[in-house]
């Protein structure tokens, strides 16, 4: 039957499967997050529903679905209902061009493990759609007509727009070296060997991308839009039941996408030396590639969760300072270095040198004379007492 092998049909089936799988994966990620949070704090975590609490996500999901939908009177109803839908939609859309298993550009006939294979603007598409996600937060905060929601949304817009710049600039070096925006080609460029992984050439870009991605997904230590201590719940204060669940779903899907991107752009995607290599695929190698890529992704998610319980939240001026005064200049220097390497066809190991320099030199400079600033403190003793 011709219709079953038509690329449109295959894309349809794969997208239905992915859309069906992602909420399940997300709810178990939330479970994993709660468990890890508990373990880090010397607790046990959810353990009442099912063996080891494994059915907790199902109970949570049912609770989200059947809870009363509280819609405050003062909200702008259309935008209020639109915002959570945008949150899920944009993050799911961005996932369309992310390979989550074996891909092979040499043999396009083969089944490609992504929803839309062969998209030549892949990474560009992800950033274009991914930056739409901030609309969900801004619209949600605005429509709620609540000052805390609005403050959260404002913070979020400033934060996401700032961090989009280092995020995009840090991967430009990778794109330049590969010569393609296509994520499958970026993987294959790295799949030539263990030391072709981009993380060896651009460790600093890797760090910048990771930091900016943490800020993009509103994860700690950059979760200012929803910081509970200052803003109640931030932009989702007025949301309840499944609408809140959809914001949650969007956040975790974003986290999955970012973890996939980190492993694809910098850690060789499905490539692992000795296990998975370029070339024609067998059923076994397809499964291995899937496992390798999933393993890398899970590792990043685990690290992101561990970072959450390790670092305290940034102050807002520190957050902006980090983006504009540190990450953007560093990413820019890295980009210029990548241009030089590309132009003069130099060994990419020069980039490693530059990146290591980018790591140490600013720190060395900052620990010098400019590192210690004069700051005012309130005099507690003499002056205050003398005036009374």
């Amino acid at each position: 039957m011709a219709i079953f092998s038509h690329p449109m049909f295959i894309a349809f089936v794969v997208s239905v499967l992915v859309i069906a799988a992602i909420p399940g994966i997300c709810s178990y990620l939330i479970f994993a997050e709660r468990k890890i949070a508990a373990w880090v704090q010397d607790r046990i975590g959810p353990n009442r529903v099912g063996p080891w609490g494994l059915f907790q996500p199902i109970a949570d999901g049912l609770k989200f679905l059947f809870k009363e939908q509280v819609v405050p009177n003062h909200v702008n109803k259309v935008i209020y209902f639109l915002a959570p839908a945008i949150a899920v939609l944009t993050t799911l859309l961005a996932f369309a061009v992310v390979p989550f298993g074996s891909t092979n550009t040499q043999n396009p006939e083969e089944f490609q493990w992504m929803i839309a294979p062969g998209v030549d603007i892949g990474i560009l598409f992800i950033f274009a759609v991914g930056s739409l996600a901030v609309y969900a937060i801004i619209l949600g905060g605005w429509a709620s007509n609540n000052k805390y929601s609005f403050l959260g949304a404002l913070r979020s817009s400033a934060q996401v727009i700032s961090y989009e710049i280092p995020l995009g600039m840090s991967i430009l070096g990778v794109v330049l070296l590969t010569g393609s925006l296509n994520l499958e080609r970026i993987i294959e460029h790295q799949a030539q060997g263990f030391f072709h992984w981009n993380v060896w050439y651009q460790p600093m870009a890797f760090l910048i991308f990771w930091l900016a991605a943490l800020a993009e997904t509103n994860r700690l230590p950059f979760d200012l839009p929803e910081c509970e201590q200052e803003l109640i719940g931030g932009f989702h204060t007025e949301y309840s039941a499944m609408k809140f669940g959809m914001f949650f779903l969007g956040e975790y899907t974003h986290m999955i996408t970012v973890s996939f991107l980190l492993s694809i752009l910098f850690l060789g995607g499905w490539h692992f030396p000795g296990l998975t290599t370029l070339g024609p695929n067998t059923a076994g190698s397809v499964a291995l590639k899937f496992i390798v890529l999933f393993g890398k992704m899970s590792l990043f998610i685990l690290l992101i969760m561990m970072i959450r319980w390790t670092l305290p939240r940034f102050r807002f001026d520190q957050l902006m300072g980090l983006a504009w005064k540190v990450l953007i200049p560093l990413a820019l220097v890295n980009l210029v270095a990548a241009m030089f390497v590309k132009h003069y066809d130099a060994s990419p190991w020069w980039l490693t040198l530059v990146n290591v320099g980018l790591f140490f030199v600013p720190a060395w400079w900052a620990s010098g004379p400019i590192g210690s600033m004069r700051r005012p403190v309130r005099e507690v003793g003499v002056g205050a007492a003398a005036r009374v």
Partner: protein, 195 residues
Amino acid sequence: MPMQAQDVRWVKEPRLSLMDRLYLPSVVDGILTTGKHLVKTLRGGEFTQQFPEVEPKLPSHYRGVHRLNRDEQGRVKCVACYLCSTACPAHCIDIVAAPSPWPDREKYPEMFVLDELRCIYCGMCEEACPVDAIELTTLYDLTGLSRQEMLFDKEKLLSVYDQTTQAGTDPARTHRGQLGPASEKAADVRLPNPQ
């Protein structure tokens, strides 16, 4: 009030070393710390108590449900002196005294009702009692279906005494001074050894 210029003292921030300025070593250090806790908990080092299945071990001076003590003959020890209800900041103790039927004391409580819902469990009644008749036990999971049920009368409070004595969870005496004649004999409840 605006801050005066002479109140402002300028200080130099302590200079961070190169290692501090790199930040990454400190972050890795922090992740190792959280990781250490994670591994420790996975190996069974958690502090969580599985409450409904495992009863907590409460210290014997815990202030839970009250009891009225009995003397060695099984009579209520209370001499209806009203010191506890006078000391009570929540006014939850209601006593009606009557002439004692026994020769060793003048009065005894004909009625002794303690409202467990009003009580704030401060323990001042047991400190006030001159004969160690009222004490707070380690029973912590007190529930009831009506307010009426939570008014503990003399019989109920005495049954709490029987229950806790049988279970071996006698509370630690908080008051061990000069006691009245009605309590001389029963003052031999030992404080638990601090070790």
